[in-house]
């Protein structure tokens, strides 16, 4: 069994679920699951996601050699299953969340602490049937141990000094030197998965668009694609192109803010001011062309809600031209400014091996030599027809992550132009047939690859929907990036990661 088996070979012959699209889902028994664990230890298949549905645990995997994607499922009537965390540390937090929400125990998970459940909900195991009783007292969360004399603790958050999302970071330090950093999240847990269950598609799409406000296009797209997969339908071509256009506009707006934000955290506000101004132009163009600054609720299952008018197209072309020109000035300034480079170069290094181990994608992964990009790997339309590169950086420091964003910005600007040039005509939506099924989508958001899996009832309602944010696999790396850095450099590292809280907390 071991050796250079491909994922497809490995899963071949196992029972397959009929209505799972577009990738196969295989049903594993306990022994096959154990074989999978052993195989994972040998192979470098990427763990794409891990979630539960009723009494089943699903693990989505991808073989990077041939790009094959598959879901492995294990039925666990005793509400426990062998943990993946040993072979894929990226699974640790997913499994902790799974235990909190579904009450399914990952056997062999070394971390017994809850993750999303802070002990403040009126229920426990909210997604399990039956739900558990409310805890009597909030969880007394033990942080990981640190040994050493006269260390001090800096508890930061969930209410931060800046305008950012809530999360708790606990530094154990000797003066400025960080001995351990641990993040505790879950503060923005809104119970989206539970809210989505039983909702009609339109309402569920609205929730999907609000999983993470900065990735609203990407999540809407992922939701729409998953629904379309589950119902074996397809959006019209123009909708595909408009969706890609919105996705690239979202990427541009967010990357601009991040580049400026990192510089601002190094106390160079001029860059942020210019980046914010540019971003504002993008948002206003969004509002002018599609009617919403952040493009919320513009992508729906079956198509898109707004068309791009001729004037809108002209606006966007002009926007791209000015953006490209003004971005170049800002890039030159960043490149020229030793005081700024001194802050970013060599700070917050993520080693490529570690990024690979956690299966981190997106800006964080690509800045550490990881090449994955769903637009290329999955090549969903219209990206299969577009010409673009997926840049990577070798060094994995803050500087690399800034350059990664700059280069992605340039690619996106070129993509917007290509999309304007090749935009096909035709209808905007196609009705979604009312039928059941299981669908999965992989979509590249500005942070990285979003996975969204859902199961629809025959009545066309959402039974279970699991969105997996790219930050699940990026957050843990932040705890390693702080190594050999001082407390004062953490905001820079954190900003350069810019992981999602809301998307991860669900």
């Amino acid at each position: 069994m071991l050796g250079n088996t491909t994922l497809t070979e490995f899963l071949d012959g196992l029972r397959t679920v009929p209505q799972h699209q577009p990738w196969p889902r295989h049903l594993l028994d306990e022994r096959a699951w154990m074989d999978l664990l052993h195989q994972l230890a040998e192979s470098d298949w990427t763990l794409l996601g891990l979630w539960a549905d009723g009494g089943e645990v699903h693990a989505a995997l991808r073989d990077e050699e041939d790009g094959a994607v598959a879901v492995a499922s294990l039925s666990c009537p005793e509400r426990k299953y062998p943990s993946l965390s040993e072979v894929r540390p990226g699974a640790i937090r997913l499994e902790r969340a799974l235990r909190d929400l579904w009450g399914i125990t990952p056997v062999g998970l070394s971390d017994p602490r809850p993750w999303l459940d802070h002990g403040r909900w009126p229920v426990s195991r909210p997604l399990a049937l039956p739900r558990g009783p409310a805890p009597e007292t909030p969880v007394d969360y033990p942080f990981l141990p640190v040994e050493g004399e006269a260390l001090h603790i800096i508890p930061v958050g969930p209410v931060h000094a800046g305008v950012i999302e809530p999360g708790h970071f606990r530094f154990t330090c000797s003066g400025e030197s960080v001995v351990r950093l641990e993040a505790r999240l879950g503060y923005t847990h809104k119970g989206v998965e539970e809210l989505m269950a039983g909702k009609p598609l339109a309402e569920a799409a609205k929730l999907a668009a609000r999983l993470s406000g900065d990735s609203t296009v990407a999540y809407s797209l992922a939701f729409a694609r998953a629904v379309e997969a589950a119902t074996a339908s397809e959006a019209p071509p123009r909708a595909h192109w408009l969706r890609a256009l919105m996705a690239e506009l979202e990427r541009i707006a967010n990357h601009l803010l991040d580049v400026g934000g990192v510089c601002n955290d190094a106390a160079f506000p001029v860059m942020l001011a210019h980046c914010t101004t540019l971003r504002e132009e993008v948002l206003r163009a969004n509002a002018a062309c599609f009617g919403h600054r952040l493009l919320m609720d513009r992508i729906l299952p079956g198509g898109v809600s707004h068309d791009l008018t001729r004037e809108g197209g002209a606006t966007l072309r002009k926007l791209c031209a000015t953006l490209a020109q003004r971005l170049n000035i800002l890039v030159d300034i960043y490149d020229d400014l030793p005081s700024l480079q001194d802050r970013t170069v060599g700070t917050g290094i993520v080693r490529p091996a570690l990024a690979r181990r956690f299966g981190a994608g997106g800006v964080v992964g690509r800045a550490s030599m990881q090449g994955g990009d769903a637009r290329k790997a999955v090549a969903y339309p219209p990206y299969d027809e577009l010409d673009f590169a997926v840049p990577t950086q070798p060094l994995g420091d803050v500087n690399a992550r800034i350059w990664q964003r700059i280069e992605e910005l340039r690619e996106s600007l070129s993509l917007v132009n290509q999309l304007m040039d090749g935009m096909p005509g035709g209808p905007l939506t196609r009705p979604i047939p009312t039928r059941g099924g299981e669908g999965m989508a992989l979509v590249e958001g500005f942070r990285g690859e979003i996975l969204l899996w859902l199961r629809l009832s025959e009545a066309g309602k959402v039974v279970r929907c699991h969105p997996r944010d790219p930050s699940w696999f990026q957050w843990p790396l932040l705890e390693a990036a702080i190594e050999n850095n001082i407390v004062a450099d953490f905001p820079l590292c954190n900003k350069s990661f810019n992981c999602s809280y809301s998307g991860v907390d669900l």
Partner: protein, 668 residues
């Protein structure tokens, strides 16, 4: 007469105290009984200082001592000033001991030696011949050693005692040899005769030996390592006397010999003293900054202040050699002012530390915290001491530091290039030391008295008893007084210095509220005016704020970013506080290394932090010396079996023998 009775009182007290060793209350009484003689000597010193200029020194000759050598005792202005320096803290220590000594683990081992220790120190100040001087000096060493080892349950104290004893023996021998050399040239042990033949002096070697002898006692780098071991090991009021006073007695020896008995020295000596002082100040304060033990921290801070005084003395010596007596007088006044200030401040701080230690049983500042709320008087007094030693106006520490900087900044273009480069470099060192001292005491006061308690003992601390409080309030008030009326003090000091340098420093060229020692336009300082203006501004501020602003105040939990965290570790520790400086300066000076073992993300194993600090001086010099001595000791196997008492006896007899040899040797 007065002197004699006071001395005898000390002696009797020392001898009588063991009678009551089984009763702790007696220890308190012995301390109480130390007060009258100390007060007497204090008054004597003050009276002599207040006498009109030109009053001759009082000289007493007692038929004590070696055959053919009477004991000479003499009270001049320098001695009188140091009587003040010694006996003011002695009074405080006595007062403090009254409430403190009975609660010591072994009060019977402290009470007899404190009066004898005072006797020794006063004796050094008044001695007017080498024999009496050395006798008193060794007496002071031995009694202080006994105080160091008073707590025999503590193995650290034993080690500290042994180190101290060897260093004291070394210092004693150096002084002995120095006097022998001086006497060989000057023809007599009598200081009066030495004084009469200036320049006779035994030359370079004698001065070097004096420097080693007194420097080792004062804590001069590199002879300081015993000091931070020994001073903190003694009971706190004895620590106060050792750190605040005994180091000053050692400096008295240096001043007496360099400025009175051996006044003809080249500028090189001043230069060397300056550099040594600068090194001492920097080393002391830097080590103080790294300490966790409150008393060790204070002891290292003593090393720093001794360094500052040495710089001023070096400047004075250099100016004198360049024939600029006015500036020499300024520097010497600065040195003496700081001697007085430091004796008070350090006593205050050690007494405060003692109150903290006895209230909590904790010397590690990383385990204290929040004491200001529970020990308000001790806390306020310690704050005053911390401000004073950090040279903050309007307290006294600033005045002496101001004077030192003035004498440094107004050093004219000294003719030798070494001085031209040396003076600014020493300036940098002093400025750094002053800044570090502030960091050190923010750290010390902040971790001990502010924040939240870091241990149960700190949370349960209670304010010290009344006599302990009184013994802290008095020096705190004096710190303020000596800071606000600097002209009065410097005027008195000018009269102390005048006979030595034959020039009277005008300290208030602009009138009495302004300390203006150099020239009317050259920089002046008036604490009183600053204070009054400050008070006026403060009143204005308070009135404005309260008239125009809201006056409501509400108590609320600390702002914790939304996560209540009651852990005491969620505030800076003392080590963390000084880590930035440790990181910048610690690598070269302490070979400090931080070893961090951070597990990978998701790994639940503990992260580990270890700090490696070594003292390069100890490793490089003393450790080798110890190895050498051990090898020698192996050879002289027989001596190894002796007890400490035998060693002491041997030391004493060697001393006496040496004196006898020198005494009977015919003058060359």
């Amino acid at each position: 007469m007065v002197i004699g009775s006071a001395m005898i009182a000390f002696l009797l007290l020392g001898l009588a105290a063991p009678l009551g060793r089984r009763r702790p209350a007696v220890a308190g009484l012995v301390h109480l009984a130390c007060l009258p003689p100390s007060l007497l000597l204090l008054a004597l010193g003050l009276m002599h200082l207040a006498a009109p200029p030109g009053t001759p020194p009082q000289i007493i000759t007692l038929p004590l001592g070696l055959p053919g050598l009477a004991g000479h005792w003499r009270l001049d202005r320098l001695s009188a000033f140091f009587l003040l320096v010694v006996n003011l803290p002695a009074v405080l220590a006595g007062l403090y001991g009254l409430g403190y000594a009975p609660h010591l683990p072994r009060p019977g081992r402290v009470a007899p030696f404190l009066p004898l220790f005072l006797l020794g120190m006063n004796g050094v100040l008044l001695a007017d011949d080498a024999f009496s001087f050395l006798l008193a000096w060794e007496f002071m060493s031995l009694t202080s050693w006994l105080l160091v080892v008073a707590d025999d349950g503590n193995p650290e104290a034993g080690k500290a005692g042994l180190t101290y004893l060897s260093m004291a023996a070394f210092g004693g021998f150096c002084l002995l040899a120095a006097f022998a050399l001086m006497a060989a040239d000057g023809g007599s042990f009598d200081f009066a005769l030495l004084r009469a033949h200036p320049g006779g002096g035994g030359g370079v070697l004698a001065v070097l030996l004096v420097l080693l002898g007194t420097g080792s006692k004062a804590g001069m780098v590199p002879l300081h390592p015993w000091l931070p071991l020994a001073h903190p090991a003694a009971p706190s009021h004895a620590s106060a006397l050792m750190s605040g006073v005994m180091t000053k007695v050692a400096l008295y020896g240096l001043i007496r010999i360099l400025f009175d008995l051996q006044p003809v020295l080249g500028w090189q000596w001043g230069f060397a003293l300056m550099l040594l002082g600068a090194a001492t100040a920097l080393t002391g304060v830097f080590y103080a900054l790294m300490q966790r033990d409150l008393k060790v921290l204070l002891a290292y801070s003593t090393v720093e202040n001794v360094g500052l005084i040495l710089v001023a003395l070096g400047l004075a010596a250099a100016f004198r050699a360049y024939d600029q007596p006015a500036l020499a007088a300024l520097a010497l006044v600065a040195a003496l002012y700081h001697v007085l200030n430091h004796s008070l401040i350090k006593s205050l701080l050690f007494l405060g530390a003692g109150a903290v230690v006895s209230a909590t049983g904790e010397r590690d500042i990383n385990r204290l915290g929040g004491l200001l709320n529970r020990m308000p008087v001790t806390g306020a007094c310690f704050l005053a001491g911390a401000c004073a030693i950090s040279a903050l106006p309007p307290l006294n520490g600033f005045v002496s530091e101001w004077l030192v900087f003035q004498s440094l900044f107004h050093a004219p273009s000294l003719s030798h290039w070494a001085m031209r480069f040396g003076v600014p470099v020493v300036g940098v060192a002093l400025a750094l030391a002053a800044a570090f001292a502030a960091v050190c005491f923010v750290r010390a006061f902040g971790t001990v008295f502010l924040g939240r308690p870091r241990s149960a003992a700190a949370a349960a601390a209670r304010e010290a008893p009344l006599s302990l409080q009184l013994a802290q309030v008095v020096p705190a008030a004096l710190c303020l007084g000596l800071g606000i009326f600097p002209v009065l003090v410097s005027g008195g000091l000018a009269s102390v210095v005048a006979p030595l340098l034959r020039v009277r420093l005008p300290t208030a060229l602009l009138g009495w509220p302004w300390l203006s020692p150099i020239a009317p336009g050259a920089g002046s300082y008036s604490a009183l005016m600053l204070l009054l203006t400050g008070v006026a501004l403060a009143i204005t501020t308070v009135l404005v704020v309260h008239h125009f602003g809201s006056q409501r105040t509400r108590r609320a939990p600390v702002w914790d970013c939304g996560t209540p965290c009651a852990l005491p570790e969620a505030q800076y520790s003392a080590d963390s506080f000084s880590q930035p400086l440790r990181r910048v300066f610690g690598r070269p000076l302490l070979a400090a290394r931080e070893l961090i073992d951070m597990p990978a993300p998701g790994d639940t194993a503990p992260a580990r932090f270890r700090l490696e600090i070594r003292d390069p001086l100890w490793d490089g010099l003393y450790a080798r010396l110890i190895r050498l001595v051990n090898r020698l000791a192996d050879r002289v196997n027989r001596l190894q079996s002796l007890t400490v008492r035998h060693y002491l006896l041997m030391m004493f007899w060697t001393l006496v023998a040496g004196l006898v040899i020198v005494a009977v040797r015919p003058p060359l």
